[in-house]
């Protein structure tokens, strides 16, 4: 119960920080909508729905990257991560809370982005929405872990995409697959498996990336 209370307190703090600073969500929203507008005009008329589905996933991954890049900024600016690491709570609670907050920001951006996508390109299938939701879990758990690894280095802006994008490739494969095939069950199961596996790995390993 203490673990959940710690996660709740830390996630609430992240949401409160975003509410005050408004650094992350507005930039994610502007970015993802701008990307769809650019794609709308860049894609030649008569392009296939499959190409548009691919673009949706490109936009989601890079929008998430924008949010992940901001995720540990409050901790970095005042080195608050040191104080959180010293606190007696399980250190994985820091990761889980940050993942939940990032998931909330990404989800909020997608609540606007997906209808815009449907408007500019083609309608959304239930399997695309399910794929996005499952991929978001993987993006946020893995991305937060990688973000914590990168934040303590000098080359953090470079390191985050370098580490995150290769790990996000399976999510893109699963997401695009779920969006374009007639029977998406296999791809959704793959995304679910990725989420469980990587969430467990990140949960177990987080302790080792936050101590020098």
């Amino acid at each position: 119960m203490n673990y959940l209370a710690d996660v709740r307190a830390l996630a609430r703090k992240d949401l409160l920080l975003e509410l005050r600073a408004r650094d992350t969500l507005p930039s994610m929203l502007l970015f993802v909508v701008a990307v769809f507008v650019v794609f709308h005009f860049a894609l030649p008329a008569g392009s296939s729905d499959r190409a548009a589905s691919g673009l949706l996933w490109v936009a989601i991954v890079f929008t998430a990257l924008l949010g992940l890049g901001r995720a540990f900024v409050p901790e970095r600016e005042q080195r608050v991560l040191d104080a959180l690491v010293l606190a007696p709570c399980d250190r994985s609670a820091i990761w889980l809370a940050k993942s939940i907050a990032t998931f909330a920001f990404l989800g909020a951006a997608e609540v606007v982005a997906l209808p815009v996508f449907a408007l500019f390109f083609h309608g959304l299938s239930w399997s695309t929405v399910a794929g996005v939701a499952l991929a978001d879990v993987g993006i946020c758990t893995v991305g937060t872990f990688v973000g914590a690894t990168a934040v303590v280095t000098r080359a953090r802006e470079l390191l985050l995409p370098l580490l995150f994008l290769p790990l996000a490739i399976p999510l893109v494969i699963g997401g695009v697959g779920a969006s374009v095939v007639d029977a998406p069950g296999r791809y959704l199961a793959f995304l679910g498996l990725y989420d469980v596996l990587f969430a467990l790995l990140c949960w177990a390993a987080f302790e080792y990336v936050v101590v020098e």
């Binding site: 830390l10 703090k13 005042q78 608050v80 007696p88 101590v211 020098e212």
Partner: protein, 194 residues
């Protein structure tokens, strides 16, 4: 409480600490001095459990919930108020009667009136006072203080003196400072890093 034998630390190829021996008994007050770059902060971070030694043996005989660490940075969120910051740490440290303890500390360090202001609007001295509140919030057994007088005005420094007066002997201290005269009277162990 702290036992260091031949402790050293490397960051890549760069050595920042070599062959440190230190014994601080329970209730002791260790004063660490030395020029900039001598490794004071690194040693304190290792004793607080934030970094591991590259060589040697370091034993700190206290669990991390009983450590209070004051760093160069205040380790508080600028977008939160003083009250929100201390409430968060109070929850994480499972401080009993959290609200009363937070209120008492804010009042003692002269921040009660400014408790609802965001820390970003605080002066450096006020932020340092808040950092001291954070360190004392969970009544730690080991206090690791890195340059605790930094940015404090005369009144703030006197407040800190009062706290040290009250707590020394009862708690264990590891303090680094460029102004050793200020805390010399408490020191039971001295370590000069070159």
């Amino acid at each position: 409480m702290i036992e260091a034998r031949n402790v050293g630390r490397l960051f890549g190829d760069k050595r920042v600490l070599r062959g440190v021996d230190l014994d601080v008994p329970r209730g002791g007050f260790a004063l660490v001095t030395g020029p900039n770059g001598a490794g004071k902060t690194t040693l304190l971070r290792m004793c607080a459990g934030l970094a591991l030694p590259s060589e040697g043996e370091l034993r700190v005989d206290v669990t991390r919930e009983r450590i209070g660490f004051l760093a160069h940075d205040p380790l508080v969120y600028r977008e939160l108020t003083a009250l929100e910051n201390l409430d968060l740490y109070g929850k994480l440290y499972r401080v009993l009667e959290r609200k009363e303890r937070v209120g008492m500390l804010l009042e003692r360090f002269g921040l009660w009136e400014a408790r609802h202001e965001r820390v970003g609007a605080y002066s450096r001295g006020m932020t340092q006072r808040l950092a001291l509140c954070r360190v004392l919030l969970h009544d730690p057994a080991l206090l690791v203080l890195d340059e605790p007088y930094t940015a404090l005005d005369a009144q703030g420094a006197d407040l800190l003196d009062e706290q040290l007066d009250e707590l020394h002997g009862d708690r264990t201290f590891l303090v680094s400072t460029h102004d050793p005269e200020r805390v010399e009277r408490f020191a039971t162990t001295r370590l000069v890093l070159a």
